[in-house]
């Protein structure tokens, strides 16, 4: 629509297996080494563990940290980095009007309590009564708050003071796309000036792997590049938040854009129909790309599950654009994957360069031109197709 405003990305907070912050990620991406994966701790699964993070830097109160499970700490930390990056930390006036949309899963469990219950429950005369007794005596009361999806947003409000509004979307990969899309739509339509959007995922939990394992879609070692050899989801711990802002609002407070978020599309292919994903992603890429190919690359947030990723690969190959796999570098962080990929896309566009290809990822070819636009694609492991366009602001 012609009356829509531009939406700038004025802050990015990113933590992953590659480190924290944009510069650390750029350095890691510029030196093509093997991705940071752990193939032994969670054998037979491969995952990308979070780099060592000093959580005190963004969550100074230990009491706050104790009330969170790792996924919430990762997200609250990344949100703090984003606010720092946007120059908003401690700016109470702006934070009180900042709208927040968080993509979240939840449900991290006390695996010790669960294991102890399961070990003994079948020997009990009344297993259900035993279960209740055990839960009542052994669950930490605050664990519930660490499990609830909307409590990542709640923690960000408490720790960083973001209180304009607070919404949490669930629903795996698509929730990340929609969190960004709704934040973007409101600013573009003029009903919001500034928004904090993103998500977080903790991959280093067996309880998180269990859901994937039921369908045998968690990647088993050895690690393999996801686009060339999609044989499972290589989950990765990561958190990413973007500060989206109207140009007017940003300029009024002297903030500079890192890049422009020019569009976000969230769709749902009928997975049962042959060719449906491919056709839809084809069309979404065409819409995002428009008439311009020059200086444009695709950053894929592919999940690695065989069928959806093969469809994504077919569509991005056909586009003829240079391609990079975000998932190869940092793993797949489910709800957070689209925000993570957008963070890296905005970073690359702001540098004007595409990072180096990864050995073994045959779709990735050298690209020496100036990068001005990045299309992010992500086909969810069971549902949801997302595409977004990031452009350079000159």
């Amino acid at each position: 629509m012609s009356d829509r405003r531009d939406v700038w990305i004025t802050g990015i907070g990113l933590v992953s297996s590659l480190g924290e912050g944009l510069e650390a990620h750029w350095t890691a991406l510029s030196t093509p080494a093997k991705p940071a994966v752990d193939e032994t701790t969670y054998a037979p699964y491969v995952l990308h563990p979070l780099a060592k993070i000093d959580f005190d830097q963004q969550i100074p109160k230990r009491g706050d940290q104790r009330q969170m499970e790792p996924w919430q700490r990762i997200g609250t930390y990344a949100a703090g980095l984003a606010l720092d990056s946007a120059g908003l930390k401690g700016n109470k006036e702006v934070l009180a009007t900042t709208d927040m949309v968080v993509a979240a899963g939840g449900g991290e469990r006390d695996q010790t309590v669960d294991g102890a219950i399961l070990t003994d429950i079948e020997k009990q005369p009344n297993p259900e009564v035993f279960l209740s007794e055990q839960l009542q005596s052994n669950l930490r009361p605050t664990l519930f708050l660490a499990q609830l999806s909307n409590l990542l947003a709640g923690n960000i409000s408490i720790v960083h003071g973001v209180t304009g509004s607070s919404r949490t979307f669930m629903g795996e990969e698509s929730s990340g796309t929609d969190a960004v899309r709704i934040g973007w739509s409101r600013i573009a339509a003029g009903t919001s000036e500034i928004a904090l959007v993103g998500g977080a995922y903790n991959a280093e939990r067996r309880d998180m792997l269990l859901l994937f394992a039921l369908k045998s879609v968690a990647l088993h070692s050895p690690w393999a590049p996801v686009l060339a050899d999609p044989k499972g989801v290589p989950t990765g711990s990561a958190g990413a938040f973007l500060v989206l802002e109207s140009p007017e609002h940003a300029m009024a407070r002297g903030a500079k854009p890192i890049a422009k978020l020019s569009g976000v599309w969230s769709e749902r292919a009928k997975r049962g129909e042959p060719g449906a994903i491919e056709a839809l992603v084809d069309e979404m890429i065409r819409t995002a790309k428009g008439d311009v190919s020059e200086g444009t690359a695709i950053l894929s947030a592919a999940c690695g599950a065989p069928e959806p990723t093969s469809a994504e690969v077919a569509a991005i190959s056909r586009s003829g654009l240079p391609v990079r796999s975000v998932t190869d570098r940092v793993g797949h962080s489910l709800e957070a994957q689209m925000p993570v990929a957008l963070a890296l896309a905005a970073l690359a566009v702001s540098k004007g360069k595409l990072f180096a290809p990864l050995e073994g990822e045959t779709l990735e070819e050298a690209f020496e031109g100036t990068l001005t636009r990045a299309i992010v694609t992500g086909v969810g492991h069971w549902r949801g197709e997302g595409v977004a366009l990031v452009e350079r602001v000159d």
Binding site: G115, L118, L131, N150, S157, G171, E267, E385
Partner: protein
């Protein structure tokens, strides 16, 4: 001819269909009759053993085939029934073809104890069970269906297929404010011109032993176990916690222009919505009620009306000592001295706190209140709390014309959303 836009020049958003399920029954008619009669849906829990539990009562929905299956199974069925009622009333689209997006508030979803126990047994572990054993059993591939069932997005996804909504549905949670958020997303999408219609659903069928225990460990639940029907006592001096409950509410939202063009009957207008988050505490609201005040004022401003224009408040009224006091403080600041004379009631006195679903159910009841000119009571109001003097429409329904309702919802995690509803376009 009536204008299709509001005072701010935005498309007017109307409701053309509404549906609900609670522990009182299925559908608006059954629920309304019982609500007006002051009936309680709270009862002794039979779904799981209550031996040793501090709270043994709830407003579970026990009359469906899915009752007692997994939380997502029951939540999906509740949502489906409410949505089917709303769509049928609205007459929008055609069967399996709803011309707009779906915004669906869903409860927490995770693999549950029955599944964990099956996996643990199938793992045939010799020693103590660990998650490694569960993973090994899961990889055998005999329970593939559990993968989809326990994904957060699966309820909305199945509903999107069933009702033929457009695009990727959004699954959401703002805890106890979720229902209002699902409506708010629809209002915004229609105002932006993204769509002409939207389906907003909020559902919660997640009362398991573990869910009850979790809330119990936070000391949030009433322990007035003796007489279940009398346990939920919003705004009373002897209130001692909320009653966990189940249900679903659904609304068909349309632009006024779209509804008029197809000759649909308009059952209400979503005039304004406001939100503000609280940074005070994870489970407690800011005692000065600032976020709640801001949220109510934002809704009034969004609708372009003043506190004097509100005839009735559908309160959050959870029956916890803290919420009801804080809500009073907030309303007093917004409405001034008039707060003592505005009729206000808590549906939760009868149906308990349906958590994720609560705000959507209360929106449906608010529309019924306007349409029928009758306010459902706050039951169990025997001992007024002198610290919070309010006209809670005590114990007996009241006949009076209601033009504009404020419906409040405040969530754990500091998420507050306030909705304003009227009967007809201004």
């Amino acid at each position: 001819m009536a204008s299709y836009t509001d005072k701010a020049g935005r498309p007017i958003v109307v409701v053309t269909g509404a549906g609900m399920v609670t522990s009182l029954g299925q559908g608006k008619q059954d629920n309304w009759a019982k609500l007006i009669a002051g009936k309680s849906g709270i009862h002794r829990i039979t779904r799981f053993p209550i031996d040793g539990l501090r709270t043994t009562i709830a407003g579970t929905v026990d009359f469906l085939a899915e009752s007692g299956r997994s939380a997502p199974d029951l939540s999906e069925e509740l949502a489906s029934l409410a949505a089917a009622e709303a769509i049928a009333e609205s007459g929008i689209g055609s069967k399996g073809n709803f011309p707009g997006p779906l915004f669906c508030a869903v409860p927490p979803i995770e693999i549950e104890w029955p599944q964990r126990r099956v996996l643990a047994q199938e793992s045939a572990a010799n020693g103590p069970i660990t998650y490694d054993d569960l993973l090994r059993a899961a990889e055998a591939g005999t329970h593939e269906a559990w993968h989809e069932r326990f994904l957060y997005g699966s309820i909305a996804d199945h509903l999107a297929d069933k009702f033929g909504t457009r695009g990727q549905p959004i699954s959401l949670s703002t805890a106890c404010a979720s229902g209002n958020t699902s409506i708010q997303l629809g209002i915004e999408a229609i105002r932006r011109g993204d769509c002409e219609a939207a389906l907003s659903i909020a559902t919660d069928g997640s009362v398991t032993a573990e869910a009850l225990i979790r809330f119990s460990l936070l000391s949030a639940l009433s322990t007035n176990n003796e007489n279940p029907e009398a346990a939920s006592r919003p705004f009373s001096k002897n209130r001692d916690g909320f009653i966990i409950a189940e249900g679903a509410g659904a609304l068909v939202l349309e632009s006024l222009e779209h509804a008029m063009a197809r000759g649909a009957e308009i059952i209400g207008v979503l005039e304004g919505v406001g939100e503000m988050a609280d940074s005070f505490h994870r489970t407690r609201s800011s005692p000065d009620a600032k976020p709640v005040i801001g949220c109510m004022r934002a809704a009034l401003a969004d609708a372009g009306v003043t506190p004097d224009d509100i005839d009735y408040i559908n309160a959050h009224g959870t029956s916890t000592p803290e919420n009801d006091r804080m809500e009073f403080t907030g309303m007093s600041a917004v409405f001034g001295e008039r707060i003592g004379s505005i009729p206000l009631s808590s549906n939760k006195s009868m149906i308990g706190h349906t958590l994720t679903a609560a705000a959507a159910i209360e929106a449906v009841i608010s529309l019924l209140t306007i349409r029928n000119g009758r306010i459902p009571p706050t039951i169990n109001y025997e001992i007024p709390d002198p610290a919070i003097p309010l006209d809670v429409v005590p114990n007996v329904a009241r006949d009076t014309q209601v033009n504009r309702v404020m419906s409040n919802s405040f969530g754990f995690g500091g998420q507050n959303v306030c909705l304003l509803l009227t009967g007809e376009p201004a």
